[in-house]
């Protein structure tokens, strides 16, 4: 075949190299593979040149309607989707900087002398995560918020030597499902799972029912941690301090999981309200939503738990000449050193997405982060007021929310309303009973719609959603 653009070898190159290697043909390099293991037929995948490839991918891309436009809203829907991924405006500079080859075509910084860029950036990332979540140590990132939550539960089990986990209040169904998968080694059957995993529901205000939690903790022992989502799945801001005290009184850790870390621009960070471990999903502040991945899991904890952390850590040190530099450190927790005794099997982190998060947080900065949160809050309160005033609509929970909230829609069928509005280019929100939320989602609350509002929405956008919901829901 002709030489391909990614394969530099000409026929002459191959002939010369085979001479050096001492083989008559390329095929002879594979002659030691036994016949029974050989592929039975050639691969059947058609090749495309760049023009044909982009035409093909462009056609696939055109078969979807984006929720977020590339530059302006150009063709994208008016989207109020959140439920685990709340997209924010990502400044152009973030992606421009990410596209520097030195960032995206480098490997894990195992050789610090030629990886100081990545190492210093991760060190800055760890500092920002520590600041946002209000806990002193943070790792170099996890896969996403859901798997970070599962790793936090496993960590709590290691720290306490206990094995039960209590979910307090409304936690994202995909986080719960992920944790079940991770716990399946110790709780394989439904009965075992029911023993290991307990749930405490929400009160009338939409917050975790603290009295029920207290009762539950008094009646079961061996609880490693209480997991609470902050703000919770319905957007309601939890009283983490109160829940933390209840957990600590029984010797359990308090783990917070956050799908929207912008909340900590206006609400108290988990570390300030007694959380021992806090995790969050950062994708909405790092890159476009990209159908949900790659995301970036933020993971922070109390300083004394550092040796039980999963994942990579970057630490500051000096070089031979005493100059400040950075290295991967405390690797004796990790799989490539500890093998079967590692704190986690995790190897790859989400380096580039963590970098995007770091660049965006640098741009937003101390003032911008708070300002973004205040914009989200004010616009959300505005829309809540508009929807609450619509006949047949109601806000089911009295507890305060940040930038996402649940609303009961007139007519009782949120899924239908969402589909109807999608036809006119409005993604009105995520129905709590939406099949796409997966197998742990609530199938009962058919009338509940989760609506997410950010700085991206203008007052006119909010008015339009309210008007269209009023028209379509019946």
């Amino acid at each position: 075949m002709t030489q391909h653009r990614y394969l530099p070898h000409t026929d002459d190159d191959v002939a010369r190299m085979l001479g050096v290697v001492g083989k008559p043909t390329v095929e002879a390099l594979f002659s030691h593979i036994p016949e029974r293991l050989r592929a039975k037929r050639p691969l059947e995948i058609e090749a495309l040149d760049e023009g044909a490839l982009l035409a093909h991918l462009g056609m696939l891309g055109a078969r979807s309607q984006p929720a977020i436009g590339a530059v302006s809203r150009d063709g994208a829907a008016l989207s109020f989707l959140g439920a685990g991924l709340v997209p924010h405006t990502i400044p152009t500079a973030v992606d421009m900087l990410l596209q520097r080859s030195e960032w995206y075509t480098s490997y894990t910084p195992y050789q610090p002398e030629v990886s100081q860029g990545t190492l210093q950036a991760i060190f800055e990332f760890q500092t920002m995560v520590s600041e946002i979540l209000g806990l002193p140590v943070a790792n170099a990132s996890m896969y996403d918020g859901a798997s970070a939550t599962a790793e936090a539960v496993l960590m709590a089990e290691r720290v306490t030597g206990r094995r039960r986990v209590v979910f307090a209040g409304a936690v994202h169904p995909q986080y719960v499902e992920t944790m079940r998968t991770y716990l399946s080694a110790e709780a394989a059957t439904a009965e075992q799972l029911a023993d290991v995993e307990r749930h405490v529901g929400i009160g009338a205000d939409g917050r975790a029912d603290a009295a029920a939690l207290e009762k539950a903790l008094a009646s079961i022992d061996d609880v490693a941690c209480v997991v609470v989502q902050q703000p919770n799945f319905f957007g309601v801001v939890e009283d983490v301090a109160r829940l933390a005290k209840l957990a600590h009184d029984r010797g359990a850790l308090l783990v917070t999981a956050t799908a929207e870390p912008v909340a900590f621009g206006v609400i108290a960070p988990p570390g300030a309200t007694g959380a021992d471990v806090a995790v969050a999903e950062g994708i909405g502040l790092a890159i476009p939503p990209t159908c949900g991945g790659p995301g970036v899991g933020l993971f922070a904890a109390r300083a004394d738990l550092v040796r039980q952390l999963p994942g990579r850590l970057v630490g500051e040190t000096v070089d031979k000449d005493g100059r400040r530099g950075y290295v991967l450190t405390l690797a004796t927790r990790e799989q490539h050193i500890r093998r079967e005794k590692a704190t986690s099997n995790i190897c790859t982190n989400q380096g580039l997405i963590a970098l995007a998060f770091t660049i965006h947080m640098s741009l937003l900065g101390k003032r911008g982060f708070t300002e973004m949160a205040r914009l989200c809050l004010a616009k959300t309160e505005y829309l809540k007021g508009k929807l609450a005033a619509l006949p047949g609509f109601a806000l089911p929970f009295a507890g305060p929310t940040f930038n996402e909230f649940a609303v009961r829609v007139r007519g009782g069928d949120a899924v239908r309303v969402v589909e109807k509005l999608a036809e006119e280019g409005i993604f009105a929100g995520v129905p709590a009973a939406a099949p796409v939320l997966g197998n742990a989602s609530s199938k009962n609350d058919r009338d509940l719609l989760l609506v997410a509002v950010t700085e991206r929405h203008s007052r006119a956008d909010l008015d339009r959603l309210a008007a269209r919901l009023d028209e379509v829901a019946r």
Partner: protein
Amino acid sequence: MSDRTTKTGTPIETRHLLHSSRPIFEQGAPGRSGASLPPLDVPSVDPAALFGDGARATAAALPEVSEVEVTRHFTRLSRWNYAIDLGLYPLGSCTMKYNPKVNERAARLPGFAGLHPLQPPSTMQGALELMWRLEKCLCELGGFKRVTLQPAAGAHGELAGVMMIRAYHAHRGDGAKRTKILIPDSAHGTNPATCTANGFQVLTLKTGADGLLSPPAVKEAIAAHPGEIAGIMITNPSTLGVFEEHLGEIADLVHEAGGLVYMDGANFNALLGKVRPGEAGVDVMHINLHKTFTTPHGGGGPGSGAVGVGAALEPFLPTPTVERDDSGHYRLEFNRPTTIGRLRSFYGNFGMFVRAYAYIREMGGAGLTKVTEMAVLNANYIRARLVEHYPLAYDKPSMHEVVFTDKRLKKETGVQTLDVAKRLMDFGYHPPTIYFPLPAVTGGAGALMIEPTETEPPETLDAFCDAMIAIADEAHKDPDVAKNAPHQTALRRLDETRAARTPKLRWTRE
């Protein structure tokens, strides 16, 4: 290095400027920001009034810098990184091949990047179709019945694969007894860590003197634990860069004993078009899209760890799967009664799916076969050129990577693997993987594991081999040069002991 031997009349060439950049927290000024936010167009809300004690008391101490400063900072930092786009990155087992530019463009198309995972499936048909098509391609390449794209990285794929093995045995009522998994000592550290995370006990198999796993060793381990073997995790080609020639017999033994075969597909780049593991006795394998299929490593992620399975494990795949109806409509299937569940939120690292699919479609079947051929040719070329200077850890035929030892060099000069690695930086290369795999580093020997990949032209390989030879020669004349290397990097050797002894894991004001 500076070139001061230029012709008369031309300016002296210099190294260009390499700026350092202090931590971003030490730059800027109070009150400064690089944010561009819209004005408030609705009534303002006071957080304290709404949240009371639950309001944030002090703002997160994020940087206070303008966009110009941010841009300079991250541009300057980037230049302190080595990268594939700068040169050869011969990390064994990491498959640092060229990351095509067109893939980056494709992944940024609004119809991919702009999708929210929870928008109605009817509005994201193109994305579902891409996932469905990528799955079909990976099934074709690996000889598998189905592939899940959900795992976020290789180790995450391992977790999924081993969970499916456990679910398989549990489903057959055999779960309580089958508690052990066989793993050769040459395996990546993630393999044993994955098994422990799944509640399995690891039985380590010693590789033979030839670097291969032998059927008698497997037979013996099975006989010693009758009825207790859940399966085997085997990397092929192994981390020693050699093809596990007895995979067929070993798979037969494990299957006869009621176990399943997990193949670590980290080294799949050596097998495209040559071996389809699903047809060769492998029940489950993860495929690192960020190795074989060119999605960028990004300084340590995101990866993407698709997992292929045969008929035995198909019922246990994570949910959701992507299905195509007869009408050509794509949907997400959540109803799989024996699923292991989900491993993360949403559907996986979708942005990586787009890149991997673009690469697979650009190369095509014949192109991918040539990828493997050139990868193996390149590794064998390096082997042939260096074998006189660095003894091989194992003498078996090499596949896509080759493992050398420092035995001779260390004995003759005192220069060891770490020194060679650091000295390579002065010649403009990222070092190979060092002190791995474990069987190659017994008895105090160091190992250099070199994987050039297929995207390197022979001139680059020659220059690299010349550097390796020059380092060995230099070690005999003046070993201190290597021992004190690197000399040309922005920072010299870093004190890793100090970093671990008194960990400083975040910036603080001095």
